[in-house]
Symmetry: C3
């Protein structure tokens, strides 16, 4: 992790230095956490009061405000912050020392690439492939025949079951389980006979899997997460699900068996999808949405059962007035009855 001068950082974010362009900066942190030698940022006016007390040596902001040190002025401080935080963030190669911890159990038939980092108490089974520059933190278990691509980052307590395939640059967070058995039984009377799940899970390149997710292996074939897709914590992906590229699934969502998602799909938190449906490219499912049938490309749905988002919103707005509507309806019934009486027609049976 190199140092940068304030001038270099300003050039990278397209900003203007008010102060000492030659100042060396060696890190970035939030306005409350930053220390001397670090740069911080102000993007949200509710943190303005920290300007006078932060220990940061420099700040990225739209204006100087009460800050005494050097400032990089930009129009969008948050975007500039994202660039700088990436500038200062160390790759797994830098953060974790290379080498294999002596307290790791690695099968003689496993193939281990160059410049890997394998932590204490990892267990690597027969015929596993761990490719170059993989970082595997402590207490990870990789079963027989699984394949981990170049530059993967696997956090502690992850389980990768037999024969699963993990593409290059995949990140898997702590406690995630890749390749657990799909939930499949054949009924014989009241009994449920387990159907062996002989397929695998394949995560393509640049996928990220959140903490404590569960991705089940296919009954036969492949449960597939397409390249660049990002999955938040505690998400359930059932057997034979296929997810396209660059899709995003928020925390605690669940996708039932054999459902397919296209590219660029967004599933919000706690949403649930039944099995055997198709979510078209670019479609979106709202938080807690319960999707019971296929969604065409580009369509946004929400609610339970999920309907087009604009209809769902109208229904929910209308439902607020439902209790009053019932009262008003009874009143109108009575007024119509009175009119009918006035016209000589008696009350109808339906009103009784």
């Amino acid at each position: 992790m190199a140092d940068y001068t304030l001038g270099e950082i300003a050039r990278i974010v397209g900003g203007e230095v008010i102060g000492d362009s030659g100042m060396k900066i060696h890190g970035i942190a939030g306005i409350r956490e930053a220390v001397e030698g670090q740069i911080t940022f102000l993007a949200n006016s509710k943190y303005e009061s920290y300007l006078s007390i932060t220990r940061a040596s420099a700040i990225i902001a739209a204006e100087n405000g009460n800050f005494n040190g050097s400032v990089i002025r930009v129009s969008n401080p948050y975007l500039a912050f994202l660039k700088v935080v990436t500038l200062f963030s160390r790759s797994p190669m830098e953060r974790y020392p290379r080498g294999i911890h002596p307290a790791a159990v690695i099968s003689e038939t496993a193939s281990i690439g160059r410049e890997v980092s394998i932590g204490a108490y990892c267990v690597i089974g027969d015929n596993v492939v761990v490719s170059d520059r993989v970082t595997m933190l402590p207490l990870v278990c990789v079963d027989e025949g699984a394949n981990i691509g170049d530059d993967c980052l696997i956090y502690p307590h992850v389980e990768i079951r037999e024969r699963c395939e993990i593409g290059p640059r995949v990140i898997i967070h702590s406690g995630a389980v890749i390749g657990s058995d799909g939930f499949g039984y054949a009924r014989e009377g009241c009994l449920h006979q387990k159907i062996p799940q002989i397929g695998i899970v394949k995560l393509e390149e640049d996928v990220e899997i959140g903490a404590n997710c569960t991705i089940d292996r296919a009954t036969t074939g492949v449960t597939l997460i397409g390249k660049g897709s990002k999955i938040d914590n505690l998400v359930q992906i059932a057997h034979n699900v296929v997810i396209g590229e660059n899709s995003v699934i928020a925390a605690q969502a669940g996708i039932s068996g054999s459902t397919e998602l296209g590219d660029n799909v967004v599933i919000a938190g706690q949403a649930g999808l039944v099995g055997h449906i198709r979510i078209g490219e670019g479609a979106r499912v709202g938080a807690q949405g319960g999707v019971t049938k296929s969604v065409p490309p580009g369509v946004s749905v929400s609610g339970y059962p999920a309907r087009e988002h604009s209809l769902s919103r109208k229904i929910y707005a209308a439902s607020t007035r439902l209790p009053d509507l019932l009262k008003d309806f009874r009143d109108l019934q009575n007024r119509v009855k009175a009119l009918e009486k006035g016209l000589g027609s008696g009350p109808t049976a339906e009103d009784d």
Copy 2:
């Protein structure tokens, strides 16, 4: 794992061989994954195009189609496939070598049965009983006094807390926690004083618990999962819940404290049940259903709050028309007002 001839397989699935009955088959796989010497199946017409390119030596199908090799013709290829996949699947006894890994920490007071497999970095506490033919994969932790029945299969990263009882042939998937403390506090003003949870969890024979499930121990007594019940991933079972036999609970469902489920109950994904209710034998709860009161035997409920499924469906169908109903109702109010004026009655206060 023995080989079978095509004729033997045909007899087992009740099918007819078109081709070489004496051909030796040594495995089964999906139509895209199968290799020479394996059998595959075609149950879904969308995979028909793979018939001409699969490397499988034989196929289970309703018709030969474009396949050049030998065929076992059956009327229901999927059912036949299930029989054959079970035929070729190896038991845990076959898949995992017997013996205790030297890097496992086992208390001197633990009792270990015959023909067990205990993986690297397992930790087995005082007075634990591990019965015959148990397969315990790496990194499993079993606390003091727990009892694991014959032929259990425990995947990596499982935690079994003190004194819990696991019946014969139970399967527990990675990351599941059996016997964590129930969520119980006594309020003293604003503070929550923890109530020690001194009960246990008991899983009866042939139960299967999904990955990253949490099954809490009872406050006193037993949280019980009855024999043959199957629980999918990420399910929460709270303290003192009792589940009958052969029930099925899909992923991400949650059962609150002291609720009881009868036999043969089905709880769909992401459903939630409040505490202290009873779900009768054979009842069913739909996906995302929120069950707030007891459900009689045999009844299906869905929606939030959960109502009989047929009523729920009517309500959801009707709600689609609610926005229009509100408009139509205002129109009707105006027409009645006009009628009332025509009759000499003035507008009523309720319309203002």
Copy 3:
């Protein structure tokens, strides 16, 4: 764990002994599990039939019933039970032997306090602080620079990521992940560029975190759980969430990024909160509630989208009658049309 006489216990719970006040009691258990020398309780009449067969030597109850042994009579047996179970429960200091297991990997730069218990296969990183009397069960991983306060109890398979701060007397159940990366990406066309998450998680004193929870570290700054707050199993807390003191979050709930909860908030099971809102002090969210905007202090909300609980209840009650309302409305429309015809006005376009 000392013994108590029945007379001592009666004094502690404010009850009256019917029988042998000098009898030594050395434990407490449920009425079905209790053995000789233990005390049990009867708070629920459905367990009355066990009175004649329990092996307990004494019982806490409102009346003697069919029990032959000594009784402590109290008006509220459940409250008395809670006091006695706490009396007999052993602290982690008593339950787990002190010392560091030889099969634990501890960095030379870690600081380990007095009277700690560190289990087999724990991994403790550089510059970690483990304070006095911490109990860390097997297979726990604590990354670089994290700080564990006095008297914490950390169950197996827990992950505590780098630099997170755990206050005194915190309890973390098995499989929980503290400090996983927040789910943050910057979009570049269809691609999602990971935003490094450089903040931390801070759990204040007396917090309890359930099994398999995921608490994400802040983008910058702190994801904070205030003192005395209790979190059930499988809960998701996103980056930069702030939770006040003595709040309670039930199982499978999820809180999205940057949302703030005040003190004494109650979130029921499977509820979900969108990001960037504020839940006021003492507010409550019902089970499966979907909260889409801020909730004022003291207000209870439920349903999706969450509304004040009393309104939600009215809407759900009214919705039951919606299918009939649609039928009755069409009937009323026809009657009004008939009236209009009688008055000489023709049918209106809206009725067609």
